[in-house]
């Protein structure tokens, strides 16, 4: 169990090489080995979506992915979605619409919303409701999150 494996992957554009146990989860490697603590763990059984990251551009739950499965892939976390100055359109919309309170589920929401809007440029309100239903939030009652998804979709389209 303690036999370690070397995993090479790109995280937020940076090439990384880490030695991990085969059972190590991608989420734990991002947090513990690479110090990227923006990815949060809230259920560790793949339901809540707090740990969502992009793997080669696709949203994935990093608590359900072994780090060794990410060998050779490109991983983007919430830290990597933040522009050098200011906030991304999704982050800005979340702030404008009060889409977060305690902030714990927020990184997963930002990543999921970003991934969905990248692939679906013209979503309806029902589409957004469906798209965000895989991320649990206990503070906002989702009103601000759905409003943010709408605002972000509209702004991205206007650009």
């Amino acid at each position: 169990m303690n036999d370690r494996t070397r995993v090479r992957l790109t995280v937020n554009g940076q090439p990384e090489s880490v030695e991990v146990e085969p059972r190590a989860l991608l989420a734990d490697v991002l947090r513990d080995n690479l110090g990227l603590t923006g990815t949060h763990l809230a259920c560790e059984h793949g339901v809540c979506g707090a740990c969502t990251v992009l793997i080669d551009g696709e949203a994935a739950r990093s608590c359900l992915v072994f780090a060794v499965q990410a060998e050779g892939s490109s991983v983007t976390t919430v830290e990597g979605l933040t522009p050098p100055d200011g906030l991304s359109p999704v982050q800005e919309a979340m702030r404008d619409c009060h889409g977060l309170q305690c902030g714990f589920c927020t990184p997963g929401i930002v990543v999921s919303m970003t991934a969905y809007l990248n692939d679906h440029p013209n979503p309806s309100d029902d589409d957004l409701r469906e798209a965000m239903s895989g991320n649990l939030c206990r503070c906002t009652g989702y009103q601000g999150i759905l409003a943010a998804a709408r605002q972000a979709a509209d702004r991205i389209n206007a650009i």
Partner: protein, 775 residues
């Protein structure tokens, strides 16, 4: 004299100060913290609800890879002192950190393993062999009082009754009233067990440094100061030797208000090991072993006249407090009449132990009074053949007839119960809805509307709760730092308090930084909970800001050779009224205050800093709201769906309307979740059945309706800002509103809804039972 400042930020939806770090992944939660030489903890927990521990064999675990230590009760025995909280009193002691001779619920911690990683600690837990002698568990709280299987038999207790208050008539003519009215309604209302479920689980990083002899705790808590005071007593240390911080906390809702036994065990581990120990709870533990909530029932009786005047209400109440209760907060029966003109009251209360996880606070911990009354009113309306809105209208208090003293001794003023009901019914178009409902029934569609009206006692006075403190300093740069006694876990406190402070000093919102949740720098506060921040912490922030502003004015007046009362401050500039060219920036005043204090008059000490404690003029500060919910139930699948959800609320003056609405949204969705989706279940042997998010279902965007909010603002006079608390209301009102909507949708089938949850399974059973009864 007119005020030297003008409000610019209070009342507006400014961007939250918290958001940038939280949106970019730079929040600082306890799981994100680390320390040199840190090791990781995991608990071995009981798999049985009630059993003697014949033996616990830890030999294999001790020699497992990476294991630093394995602790049992015997390792902690006599290593700690007093274990109580200021808010709960010395009588309510936190239970031993680990089980001693027996276990009393599934999840009861038996051993603590400390290892180099959490995974290795968990591996070692799996190697511990426990020999249990199982005993019959007590799970059903309704029958626990008479159950001969006693949860705490090992302590020599004779029964499962923790607290019993016999029936207490609060009005002399209660019996005559019930004997003389046209209608006596009697119904037993049952509210299910549902939980806080903060997205961040519990956790602590505890660091005891030998030689330094200080304890440093980073902890997911709602109260850093009470946590510090607790552990100072627990380890026999001066308070100054314990530092507790909590920069970001991922939700609490009451669950993180008090210290738990697990945190005690981790603190003892760091003390014994002399190196930092971190414990981050997993979701299974959070669902089974962090404070549980609700789970109360009451037999409600109402005496109602022929024309619908409620003359009396009584309840016989039973609450489940589990095996060890972190906070035995249950229904406040004196609040049972709520915001109604009901003149007579009586109640009994029983709190019983069961072999389940113990009860903690959850957003409106006393709220079963609202669920019981509001669900009973709908039962009454059905029984006497009156519309439930009309029955409420007839009995609700309105602003014009206040003050009013209820039979429970509550003095109501500055609230708008009838007014919020009318606003909410107007937003729905209640009369039109009734027509639409009748037409829908003709087509075989089951539509229903539910109402809940309540009054919320915010900013209560009990024990430590009456006061908060603030230290505000204008630095030599002219920027403002506010040190507050609060411990935010999502309430936007950095934002709302900065709005108040900026307005009162006359600087920009961006010029104010708020520091909180650090016992080494901030004034004492009992913790963030009980809807107290706007009123009490807001009062402290207001008064401290005014005190600092007065210093600015005194020094500026000296510098400009003007009278302080002739000065005004706006956007960081102090100017003589009517003579704007005679002005100084706050930075210039601050420079004088700090670096040329010797030039100031003898009675001006220099520096720009003030510490103020604030206590409201009266307790509590009442707020109120009316909720109206429309549901449709699918007659084939029995799945209920909320079509509209309306809240009319009155929290006085709003500091930040977006934050107010966010609190309402979140509370409402927790309340409706507890009716339609969330239900924590044990089997009859006390085995938890809903231990993942696939079994314990939280609402998602897929089920959550659009929530419509109307505001009334009757200003409170308990505090300088005119604010009222409102953080718990959404969760208080939603439960009965949704349950009543389901009840209304099923009423034409002869179903009488009196209990929750109300998922498709329960609705199916109710409809089946009603059809059988009719057949």
């Amino acid at each position: 004299m007119s005020s030297p400042v003008a409000a610019r930020f209070v009342g507006s939806a400014v961007h939250r100060k918290e958001d940038r770090r939280l949106l970019t992944g730079h929040g600082q939660y306890v799981a994100d913290a680390s320390a040199p030489r840190m090791v990781h903890a995991a608990f071995l927990r009981s798999e049985l609800a009630k059993a003697r521990l014949n033996s616990v064999n830890i030999e294999a675990a001790k020699s497992a890879p990476g294991v630093i230590a394995v602790f049992l009760w015997s390792d902690f025995h006599e290593k700690f002192g007093e274990a109580w909280h200021g808010m709960l009193g010395e009588q309510l002691v936190v239970p031993p950190p680990l089980a001693i001779m027996d276990v009393r619920y599934v999840g009861d911690p038996i051993a603590l393993v400390v290892a180099e990683t959490r995974a290795l600690a968990e591996d070692a837990c799996a190697l511990i062999e426990v020999d249990y002698e199982p005993e019959q568990a007590t799970v059903d709280y309704a029958s626990a009082a008479a159950d001969s299987n006693v949860v705490h038999a090992a302590w020599g207790l004779p029964s499962n009754v923790m607290v019993e208050v016999p029936f207490t008539p609060m009005s002399a003519d209660l019996d005559e009233t019930f004997n003389s009215v046209e209608h006596v309604v009697e119904t037993t209302i049952v509210q299910n067990r549902y939980l806080c479920v903060p997205m961040e689980t519990r956790g602590v990083l505890a660091s005891w440094t030998p030689g330094l002899e200080e304890l440093d705790l980073i902890v997911a808590t709602q109260s850093v100061h009470e946590t510090r005071n607790f552990f100072a007593r627990y380890l026999g240390l001066d308070e100054g030797a314990v530092r507790v911080t909590a920069r970001d906390v991922g939700g609490g809702f009451g669950q993180k208000m008090f210290v738990y036994r697990e945190e005690c065990a981790v603190v003892l581990a760091t003390k014994l090991l002399g190196r930092p120990v971190k414990w981050i709870e997993d979701r299974l533990e959070n669902l089974t072993s962090a404070g549980h909530s609700r789970n109360e029932l009451g037999k409600v009786r109402m005496a109602i006249t022929a024309d619908g005047v409620i003359e009396a209400i009584t309840v016989d109440h039973v609450a489940d407090v589990g095996a060890y209760t972190p906070c035995p907060a249950v229904m406040d029966p004196t609040l049972l009449p709520g915001p109604y003109r009901i003149p007579r009251l009586g109640f009994s209360t029983q709190m019983v132990w069961t072999n389940t996880m113990g009860k903690a606070a959850y957003r409106g911990p006393w709220m079963f009074e609202t669920t019981a009354r509001e669900m009973a009113i709908d039962v009454a309306a059905r029984q006497i053949g009156m519309d439930p809105a009309e029955l409420r209208r007839k009995n609700l208090l309105s602003l014009a007839e206040l003050p009013f003293t209820s039979p429970g001794g509550k003095l109501f003023q500055e609230i708008t119960p009838l007014e919020t009901l009318e606003q909410a019914l107007g937003m729905l178009g209640y009369d039109e809805f009734r027509k639409e409902q009748a037409a829908a029934r003709e087509q075989g569609r089951w539509l229903g509307v539910g109402i809940c009206v309540y009054v919320e006692p915010t900013s209560m006075e009990q024990a430590t709760l009456a006061t908060e403190g603030a230290t505000i300093r204008i630095e030599s740069s002219g920027k403002v730092v506010a040190f507050l006694s609060t411990t935010s876990h999502g309430q936007s406190i950095e934002t709302t308090m900065a709005q108040i402070i900026a307005d009162q000093i006359g600087v920009g919102y961006d010029d104010v930084t708020v520091v909180q949740a650090d016992t080494q720098s901030t004034p004492y506060g009992p913790g963030t909970g009980g809807s107290r921040t706007a009123v009490i912490a807001g009062g402290a922030a207001h008064d401290a800001a005014v005190a600092v502003r007065d210093k600015v004015l005194a020094i500026a007046a000296h510098m400009m050779e003007a009278a302080p009362e002739d000065l005004q401050i706006a956007e960081g500039v102090v100017a003589v009224r009517g003579t704007p060219d005679r002005s100084l920036t706050i930075k210039e005043v601050a420079t004088q205050a700090y670096t040329n204090a010797h030039t100031l008059p003898v009675d001006v000490a220099g520096g720009l800093e003030a510490t103020i404690r604030f206590k409201p003029k009266r307790f509590p500060t009442w707020s109120n709201a009316a909720h109206v919910c429309v549901v449709e139930i699918d007659p084939e699948t029995f799945i209920p769906r909320i079509l509209r959800y309306i809240v009319s609320e009155d929290c006085g003056k709003m500091i930040n309307p977006q934050v107010v609405e966010g609190q309402i949204f979140g509370g409402v969705v927790q309340g409706l979740g507890g009716v339609l989706y969330e239900d924590f279940r044990y089997d009859t042997d006390g085995n938890p059945q809903t231990t993942t998010f696939l079994d314990y279902l939280l609402p998602t965007t897929g089920e959550t309706p659009l929530i419509e909010i109307g505001h009334l603002e009757s200003v409170s006079t308990t505090n300088p800002g005119g604010f009222k608390g409102m953080g718990e209301g959404g969760a208080i009102g939603a439960h009965a509103a949704v349950a009543n909507a389901v009840g209304d949708a099923l009423a034409h089938l002869g179903v009488n809804v009196t209990s929750t949850p109300l998922g498709p399974e329960q609705i199916f059973e109710l409809v089946q039972a009603s059809q059988k009864e009719r057949a």
